[in-house]
Amino acid sequence: MNTNRIVGKSMPRLEGRGKVTGQALYVDDIVLPGMLFGATVRSRIPRGRITKITFGPGVDWNEFVIVSAKDIPGKNCIALIDDDEPCLADGKVNHPEEPILLLAHPDRRLLPQAVEAVSVEYEPLPAIFSIEESEQHSQIIWGADNVFKSYLIEKGDLDAVWERADYVVEGEYATGAQEQLYIENNGMIAAFDPQQGLTVWGSMQCPYYVHKSLVKLFNLPAERVRVVQTETGGAFGGKEDYPSMIAGHAALLAMKSGRPVKIVYDRMEDMAATTKRHPSRTRHRTAVSKEGKILGGEIEFAIDGGAYETLSPVVLSRGAIHAGGAYSWPSIRIRAKAVATNTPPQGAFRGFGAPQSLFALERHMDRIAQVIQLSPAEIRRRNFIKPGETTTTGQTVTEAIDLGKLLDRAMEISDYSAKKERFAKENRNSTRKKGIGLASFLHGAGFTGSGERFLSSVVGVEGCAEGSVRILVSSTEFGQGTNTVLCQIVAEALKVRYEDVSIARPDTQEVPNSGPTVASRTVMVVGKLVQSAALGIQQTLEASGLLGAIYSPEEFRAAVRAYVAKNGKLQALARYEQPEDIVWDEQKYRGSAYAAFAWAVYVAEVAVDLTSYSVSVDDFVALQEVGRVLNPVLAKGQIIGGIAQGIGFALYEKVIWQEGRMQNGQMTNYIIPTSADLAPIRVYFEELGNVHGAFGAKGIGELPMDGPAPAIINAVEDALGVPFRSIPLLPEDIFDAVANERERERFSPVAGDRR
């Protein structure tokens, strides 16, 4: 297994040198000759009809290029799943910050005043702002019932279990919106040439999503739209769909003005207008035997999608499929729905629905443990899913995962049992209450169900004239390590040096569509494909007689040079084909939801200071099985970075809404963890391998977002004896809850009905 020379080693980040020297060019670093700057006039109200637009005094409007919905040559939409989001509002608005008009000017400094000087008059309509208001149907703002999408997942005979249950445990849990807060704001540059067509450059995850959207918006043939990714300063899902909007805006201004146009958001606009993690509400009702075995459960999972559908159906799908977590459910019924409200559309954020439903489940497991008086570890141990058993969608676990052992190891590393006992004693005489909590969970890698089959991704590897090879994919680098790991895979597959492999810049004119860079799919799915394309190159060289069966890297380079000199081109493509054992029924929502799952047990140790009511995470142990680790330094960086975001999700990051608009859209008042806030995070890997991934890899990027929030809130409950059901959990929430508990003299942490 460990005979690999390059895979499994911490090769340095491929584009790292440009990043540490400041030479890497992000979109805002790029200037084109004659370039204008664009800005967006946005809705100030949550819902209404636009009655009048006036261009106020004090601005020389002749100097400005102005674009409205009427300037759109094709369909006024951001093409995604159902194309329901307009590119520019046409007569009505459905959320605050909805784009209405676009302005461009050569002097960037004049734009803020010009945006201010545009006055839009509205006839306001009543608006709704929460899942509950959306369910009550007081206003129908989308479709017939405000529901973007619903799913039903059913397994076993749930109705029969309630009779047999010794306990029925209920709980309701909620999570708030979360801002991705990539440090590079969103931005795009567009140029339009009547002959060549449209080109956009910018910060993005998915060049072909942007491409698809522009083709529809401009009604242009596909070959006359070109999308190029620039160095991208963080994304986390936040640059999955919204870049299509900004690209469309910049392109409309470029077409009208005949000059290149750059739109780069400032922080406040980025936070107020672009997508965030969907707020969620999850209700659990679980039948449990007195031995602590789950007999069955009902889960209602609802997410707030904002004003347009955008990605909500797929976020909902992943959240619903993960709602049963890493446990065996003899019977279950999961009802999931995504509803409309008059807030800006919510979107993708690392984990994609799973952090929401897993927060609920992992809090609920602790609640079940209390009710039947087992330890949190023991209730989990008795219900872990095992190889040969089936998930909630009926997928048989084929991997040799032993979650009991994973739990044992995490408890041992974190000294869980001894600490739990010690804290309980010490807390009696201390105002700094300590607690320890755990979460066990899974995350499916790649697109859900038939998603990968529909994507039908294509990758290429080509030989270059000077003897190196180059990877051709639309998979983007935005910090995770795409460039490095894909080059490692190809270097390993071809038995050449890491330095002999490069990767093309994602440019739709240069690279095939290897699918979007989302869903923890790049290393596993795209990586496997580039491995296979690389072998195609080797076979071509062997067949041509230029390469023997055993060769040195120098001989390989020579063979590539000779082949390219003779034939002009050396290229191999590989297209995804769904393995036969992965079968999915989209109608019944049954079958193999994911080609592979990553598994984890996380343990958080916290201290709650009862003078400030602040929580500090004092120790964090993250143990996971992610298949083969292809680059230990990058993999560890992914896990720690994800956990830091999870800590923010649990304890710091609160979006404050007022009439559907984010009120704290600044880094001053939307707080993420700093280096001073985070204790060392201890990362451990188990490596079982994975037949579906390159060199045994699975997805890794999203997993670490799922576990921290429940582990931490479970630890806070352990410290205080007070249950918390929603996040973010801020000091003022803890203050209120502790005060309430003190009032309620006879507090009992044990709830639920004994039958």
Partner: protein, 165 residues
């Protein structure tokens, strides 16, 4: 409301950047960040928030770590500024840049220039910082990718080996 920067006439401001004397014509209240990026083409200095919270635009001004988005151009008159472009000597990376590469301190890279300057400033004050010193010293610079651990490791590594490497 803040006065728009162009409400005054431009003036000539000269200062040193990375050891070279430069003279620019800029509005007095223009942000030093914009002068560096747009007038001097030093785009290694990044804007993250525009309000002095994230530290991505950090530069050293006469050895002091400042957020260049909060410094008016006029204030740069006669000072000595170090940006990320001034650290590597030709092909040879600065010890901090190399350590960030080796330890995984840069992911998306957008906070990296500011973070490296904050680290340089810290090491100037405390050549062998403790972990606590590093956590505290970098806490004005936000990173969303790394969770800071590998950045801290990189700075500690340079502390152990010395800046000369």
């Amino acid at each position: 409301m803040i006065e728009p920067p162009q409400s005054h006439t431009k003036c000539e401001i000269s200062f040193q950047v990375n050891g070279k004397l430069v003279a620019v014509r800029a509005y007095p209240m223009e942000r030093l960040l914009d002068v560096l990026r747009e007038e001097l083409g030093l785009t290694g200095t990044k804007e993250g928030c525009g309000e002095g919270e994230c530290g991505s635009c950090s530069v050293l001004m006469d050895g002091v770590l400042v957020n260049s988005c909060l410094v008016p151009a006029l204030q740069a008159k006669g000072v000595n500024i170090t940006t990320v472009e001034g650290l590597a000597e030709d092909e040879r990376l600065h010890a901090l840049q190399q350590a960030f590469l080796d330890c995984g301190g840069a992911q998306c890279g957008i906070c990296t220039p500011g973070m490296i300057l904050a680290a340089l400033h810290l090491l100037g004050k405390k050549p062998q910082p403790t972990m606590e010193d590093i956590r505290e010293g970098l806490s004005g610079n936000l990173c969303r990718c790394t969770g800071y651990a590998q950045i801290i490791e990189a700075v500690a590594e340079v502390g152990r080996r010395g800046i000369a490497g």
